[in-house]
Amino acid sequence: MSNTVAHADPHAHPHAHAHHPALQHHFDTMSQQKEAAVIGMWVFLLTEILFFGGLFVAYMIYRVWYFDAFAEASRRLSLFWGGLNTAVLIGSSLTMALAVRAAQTNNRKWTVNWLVLTMLLGCVFLGVKVIEYEDKFANYEVPGANYNWVYHEQHAAAEGHAVEHRPLSQTPEQLQRTTQLYFSLYFTMTGLHALHMIIGVGLMLVITWMAWKGKFDAEYYTPVEMSGLYWHFVDIVWIFLFPLLYLVERHT
């Protein structure tokens, strides 16, 4: 992904005159360099799948053991915000794909435009996440010493809001205990996902700047494509997280 040639040595570069400026010294051709980057990125995404995989395993096991608690706890999440965020992320995947397309077709202006739009959508997602987290903190729904399962309803009742009276499948004491597992996983999974989003936005800042400077052309747009792969991956993780965390038992 570099565009400089280090340790240039005339003997090592018998064909130096024909080189694309972005070709690094240890590659023979642009296509070799690009293939290396593509394989590298896919291997990296594979490690990411295994990274999130550990959390999904823990989620799966506890969801089977404590299904009722997971169902009750997932009702504390807002379908509106979750659904909105899902739409925002899917939209950002589209704008990202369009940015890659623009880079491929040598369209500098739209590469930058689509990238900026992708970043904006990413920030919207993160903003919504902040609102959602804020609500959890306000309602003592963050696991740990201050966790309080019943606070939410008591508080809503005290404020005079309508409280949905559904028969709970378990006593508050039990839910106090095991819904903490749900929220521990909720915060760890969405927190790590959000961290990936932040890294993605940061990455894209650099790429956008590079695109602005005209570093990319139809022959060399690997960085745009690679950040695209990364962004789509982060999207796909959310596509799994949303139903697993928000829609545990929404059909009843």
């Binding site: 053991w65 299904f67 009722d68 004491e173 039990q174 205990r177």
Partner: protein
């Protein structure tokens, strides 16, 4: 067994010890055969084909498929035989007989607490009779521990929130080590004790010696009253809670339509998180005792409930659960 007075082999004090040691010597002999065989071959080849002059190169041999297959297949067969033998010994190790003497062990930083049904309680010491299967149900009050009897060749982890179990039949009277083998903090190495194997008659005499507080079940009965359990759990079945008479081993129908075979793990769950599984026809009124009752008192209560079912085998529970697993899990599996 010892060489020059240095012990190199632990005492064989249980039935398993002989099984495990036989397996050990078989694997040892097989491994020694291969290790010595390959070592001799390597040294001999090194001498025989030692380079004689500069610039000498070896013969051009790329490989030999039949040989490769041979030395893949033979180790596979030997390994499968080892697996089979080891698995059969293990299967036996994990199947306590129904008539086994029940003892409870609780691991706690850094001691082992044992409770006998007859009421004796011991710390870091355990007295058991020889010639009779003994089953130990293990739990932990804090972190992971592991109860290990080298002379009996068996061990099992103590896991907080679960019951696990091991069993053995001691053969040789004597005093042997008890170790904790799962690292549990500062005094892990101090979490040791001794198991005293007594002749059955001596064991009976030893049982008579203590027992000031009555049997474990009696202690449980007292707790049952102290905790006011009897106000709801009437023997007539007319109380607010179900009757506990002849409960062990019975299949009960729950509120949500599922059925549960009553065993120790179910009793543990019902006491600690009482609303996890409520019997059909009853209200979820019982308070949860999670964090309010020690592991020791919990087993006393369970023993008391078991004593109300004189017709059920004493070890009915883990015998059935044990068929599927060594650990009778006590987590509140609030499964739909």
């Amino acid at each position: 067994m010892s060489i020059f007075g240095i012990p190199i082999f632990p005492e064989q004090a249980s039935v398993f010890a002989k099984d495990v040691d036989a397996l050990y010597f078989f694997i040892l002999a097989t491994c020694a055969f291969f290790a010595i065989g390959v070592s001799i071959a390597v040294v001999w080849l090194g001498i025989k084909y030692h380079k004689t002059h500069d610039g000498q190169i070896g013969a051009r041999i790329e490989g030999n498929l039949p040989l490769e297959l041979l030395w893949s297949v033979i180790p596979t067969i030997i390994a499968m035989f080892m697996f089979g033998w080891g698995a059969s010994v293990y299967y036996h190790l994990r199947r306590p007989p129904d008539e086994a003497l029940q003892i409870y062990a609780v691991g706690k930083q850094w001691m082992w607490k044992f409770q006998h049904l007859e009421g004796q309680r011991e710390i870091n010491e355990l007295h058991i009779p020889s010639g009779r299967p003994v089953k130990i149900t293990i739990s932990s009050e804090d972190v992971l521990h592991s109860l290990y009897f080298p002379a009996f060749r068996t061990k099992m982890d103590a896991i907080p929130g679960r019951y696990t179990e091991l069993w053995f039949e001691a053969q040789k009277p004597g005093v042997y080590h008890i170790f904790c083998t799962e690292y549990c903090g500062t005094n892990h190495a101090g979490m040791i004790g001794s198991v005293t194997v007594l002749e059955p008659a001596q064991y009976q005499a030893w049982l008579q010696g203590g027992g000031m507080e009555g049997t474990l079940a009696q202690r449980g009965a007292k707790l049952f009253t102290d905790l006011a359990c009897q106000t709801c759990h009437l023997d007539t079945g007319q109380g607010r809670g179900p009757s506990l008479k002849d409960l062990m081993g019975r299949t009960e129908e729950m509120q949500d339509g599922t059925t549960v075979v009553v065993d120790e793990a179910y009793l543990r769950e019902s006491i600690l998180t009482s609303q996890a599984k409520v019997v059909k026809g009853f209200q979820p009124l019982m308070p949860t005792f999670q964090g309010l009752i020690s592991e020791e008192n919990l087993v006393a209560l369970i023993e008391h409930v078991k004593s109300l079912s004189p017709n059920a085998a004493t070890t009915s529970a883990p015998a059935s659960a044990g068929a599927a697993g060594a650990a009778t899990t006590a987590r509140p599996a609030e499964k739909k």
